[in-house]
Amino acid sequence: MEVYIHIPFCVRKCAYCDFLSFAADDELKSRYMDALVTEIRDFPHDPPVSAESVYIGGGTPSILPAEQIAGIMDAVREVFILDADAEISMEANPGTVTEEKLRVYRDSGINRLSFGCQSADDEELKALGRIHTWEQFTESFALARKAGFTNLNIDLMSGLPGQTEASWEKSLRSAAALSPEHISAYSLILEKGTPMYDRYDAQAALLEKGISEAELRKKISADRYLPDEETERRMYDRTAEILSEYGFRQYEISNYAKEGYACRHNIGYWTGVPYVGVGLGASSYMKTTRYRNTSDMALYLRDSSLGRKWESLNEKDLMAEFVILGLRMTEGFSRGEFLHRFGRDIDRVYGSVIDRYVKLGLLEEKNGRIRLTRQGISVSNTVMEDFLP
């Protein structure tokens, strides 16, 4: 079992963010913490349930007073038996941590921090609506090391307005040079309802036709331009190359780690490990069911179990998810594991699809594992959709 805890608060919402998070006053925060602890305690734990990882995400969990985080960890321990080597992660934003806070985190058992940094270029950070500069980030990062954290992640983002291959490379090298254990590199996604979407949707729509940035510049006049598809593709290819120079190995579409530091919690999601998510809008998955908590704060504060959305998964859904999530990892998924889990040879279910994409060079098979090729990763959606029931 994995445990996810959602903290929906942040200092200020970023321009691209459509996560469940918002700025809130202390009173709301403390009422939320009460409801959250109650939800954790309500989780059926007789007989006791063991957990191999905990992940406190947000929002920005690090804006909470450190004692509240410690309180959450106490509640978790009341309910779950944590493995001795459990991975316990927490997301933190630069500018929200102090030496003192970091020390309390460590004492509460947290052993991995994930910093939302996004870029080493202050102009890009500003365009994203981030509250910190690169320098502020490096300060926070150094504090974390000083506090004794030996497993740190840095989040970076490509495909930003105004970003060039050079500036992306600089961000990668700057982050890697700090020698974190893990780097996540995502593409910017323009989500409806965000200021970023409103500003750049017209550009995105044109780029979606496959036009170049030069052509885009002729059609639209703007202060900043989104990188075109070719540029993004090169950025993506460069990411793995550059990070490998620093000893990082790519293990998933967007994740890179030094030996032994791949995020176990996230690997759990891609390999079908059951998880319980607590907090506003958090998802849980057990066997053939997934449910999502309400996103309505008032409702959640009244009773965290109100307004849950249930999704029941039949065997076809489960097989599709197994493949789709498995393909996110660079190692892919194992035939034997599929057989073991569903009692059927994968070729009898997906033989023709796998065959077709192997022939097109988008999938490959090696030592009983099936995975996307480099080219396949670029068009992963097209490949993945064909595994849906």
Binding site: Y4, L188, Y269, S283, V379, T382, E385
Partner: protein, 604 residues
């Protein structure tokens, strides 16, 4: 209804330019004669097809019998036959006229004589009809009846001095029209004692009664139980019912006598047996020879019709069969397209006819249609001396076998307000028009005459005309004949495979421009796939325009953790749903909408 006095029957029609108020006058006449009360009147009762009422135009000829008590104290039976106003429907006008003895010519007193007014009058004259004019819309402030009367006398050459000045809208002076019908239109001639001789001027299929034929009795009479023979096909049937037309309904009667207009049902099952223009006679006592009927009009515009859902093909065939019954000008034959499946190559009198037929098929028969690019009938002169009439670009012989080609030329008359004369002349030149004449009908209105290839008109001429004149231009055209021309077949290739449904014949000099536009449009309609898809326009093996649907290069890479999984799946499902709506074409998937959108004429 036995004992109707032949001398008190009047068979007439109303002819007019579109929008001059023909249908409104018909409504008022029905109202005045008391067949229906004002309250029962729905606007334009004669137009009983939804489509007609919506567009405010009359498509199908309709008949209606009314009783009128004239000022001379006698009761008259008036058979009013409604006729379509648009040039595309000359054929229908023609068959309606054949059933009449006279015509009421409605002229809008605010607009005066229009191109179609003249055309319809000439048609009526060809049928030896007695014609008298009526000036409508007299209630409008801009009416200038005296000038219009002069115009009628000058341009058409019929006497208009004492023409009734009416308002069909308000009913003002409509009495006068009725009196004129009685006084000026002759009673039908014909011998009541002679063998039955009746002209079929319309037929419709009714689910309960079978085929219903509309007839005008020239000689003799017909009643239920008679055996009739349809002279063209030789089919014989027993008459089940005869009757006349009320407003929007059929009223059975004992007998149809000489001079009457009415209908016959005779358990005719095969709709192919009834031909509009054919003569009905008595099988036991046949007449010597058939009526001349009237000339069959040749379709001028052709296109392929396909159902969006290929399994609906038989429904389309049934619908066309039924439609053909009362639209003899509609031509169709089966064809197959690699891209669209089974369908029909259909011939129409013009673009409006095409549009109306497709709309009727979609609406009345609940079909979703794909229409291929309309084309005209080309004459292909082969080197071996053979001449082919080409209606489907796919059938064009190998260029090596072609000596030369000819295309149909029309005389286009464009009425336009002064301000836009220049713009419209420019448009006509661009479309290969040859200037013939310009005449100012009034200080502000000119009639431009051009000789122009029909091909140019059916492309997007109407839309261009409308936009360049801001709606102040109207077009009328008639066939002149054929003219030798440099024509080529333009093929559209997707991923190097020709898409037959998109091929068309085009003037050589316009090929590049048209090809480029088609490629651009198609490029936007085809979703990106795993490989580059060239979209090309080609003449023979020579590619003249090219666009590329670029291969997908990179999906945006979103993170995908616990809470994202459902969302990611929904995204993929949506994408997959879109794929299902596509037609597999070689290796390429093309959405059905792409064909529709590319073939749509009105989108520039």
């Amino acid at each position: 209804m036995a004992g109707i006095d032949q001398s008190r029957i009047r068979n007439f029609c109303i002819i007019a330019h579109i929008d001059h108020g023909k249908s409104t006058l018909a409504d008022r006449i029905i109202e005045k004669t008391g067949l229906l009360t004002s309250r029962e009147m729905q606007d334009q009762v004669l137009d009983n097809m939804d489509l007609e009422r919506e567009r405010g135009i009359t498509i199908k000829a309709q008949a209606c019998r009314i009783i009128y008590n004239a000022k001379d104290g006698q009761e008259y039976i008036l058979n009013m036959i409604d006729t379509p106003g648009h040039v595309d429907f000359n054929y229908e006008v023609s068959r309606s006229l054949a059933a009449c003895d006279g015509a009421v010519l409605v002229v809008d007193s605010t607009q005066g004589v229009e191109a179609q007014t003249v055309g319809n009058v000439y048609l009526a004259m060809e049928h030896d009809l007695e014609i008298f004019p009526v000036l409508n819309k007299i209630d409008l402030p801009s009416a200038h009846p005296e000038e219009v009367k002069q115009e009628i006398e000058d341009i058409i050459g019929i006497e208009a001095e004492d023409a009734p000045e009416i308002s069909a809208k308000t009913g003002q002076n409509v009495e006068e029209v009725l009196e004129d019908i009685v006084k000026k239109i002759p009673a039908p001639d014909g011998d009541p004692k002679a063998p039955l001789k009746a002209l079929i001027f319309d037929s419709v299929y009714d689910a309960y009664k079978g085929v219903i034929i509309s007839v005008r009795i020239r000689d003799g009479s017909v009643k239920p139980g008679d055996r009739i023979r349809l002279m063209a096909t030789g089919a014989e049937e027993e008459v089940v019912e005869v009757g006349y037309f009320g407003a929007g309904q059929m009223i059975p009667c004992d007998e149809l006598t000489t001079g009457m207009v009415g209908y016959i049902t005779a358990s005719i099952k095969r709709i192919q047996d009834t031909r509009v223009g054919d003569t009905v006679t008595n099988a036991d006592r046949p007449c010597d020879e058939a009526l001349p009927g009237y000339k069959k009009v040749q379709p001028m515009v052709y296109c392929g019709l396909y159902t969006e859902d290929p399994t609906k093909y038989p429904d389309l065939r049934d619908a066309l069969e039924k439609l053909e019954l009362n639209d003899a000008s509609l031509f169709y034959e089966p064809e197959t397209s690699a891209a669209l499946g089974f369908g029909f190559r259909c011939g129409f009198l013009g673009l409006l006819h095409l549009e109306i037929v497709t709309e009727r098929l979609e609406r009345e028969y609940d079909l979703d249609l794909i229409t291929t690019a309309p084309g005209v009938v080309y004459k292909v002169h082969k080197t071996n001396g053979e001449v082919i009439e080409l209606t489907n670009p796919s059938n064009l012989p190998d260029p090596a076998e072609i000596d030369y080609m000819e295309e149909p030329i029309v005389k286009a008359e464009i009425m336009v307000t002064k301000d836009y004369v220049g713009a419209i002349m420019q448009l006509c030149e661009e479309r290969r028009g040859e200037y013939q004449n310009m005449e100012y009908l009034e200080a502000n209105r000119a009639l431009l005459t051009y000789h122009m290839p029909l091909n140019e008109i059916i492309y997007d001429f109407f839309d261009a005309l409308k936009s360049r004149s801001h709606g102040y231009a109207s077009l009328d055209y008639e066939m002149l004949g054929y003219q030798r021309s440099e024509l080529v077949k333009l093929d559209i290739l997707v991923n190097r495979e020709p898409v037959d449904a998109l091929s068309f014949i085009v003037f050589a000099d316009s090929a590049y421009e048209r090809g480029r536009k088609m490629c651009e449009k198609l490029k936007d309609e085809i979703p990106r796939q795993l490989f580059d898809i060239p979209v090309q326009a080609a003449i023979g093996s020579k590619v003249i325009a090219r666009e590329t649907v670029k291969a997908l290069r990179k999906d945006v890479l979103a993170k995908c953790y616990g809470g994202d999984i459902s969302r990611k799946k929904k995204l993929l499902e949506k994408q997959k749903e879109g794929k299902k709506r596509m037609r597999q074409f070689g290796n390429v998937e093309i959405p059905k909408e792409a064909f529709l959108n590319v073939l749509k004429l009105d989108e520039q």
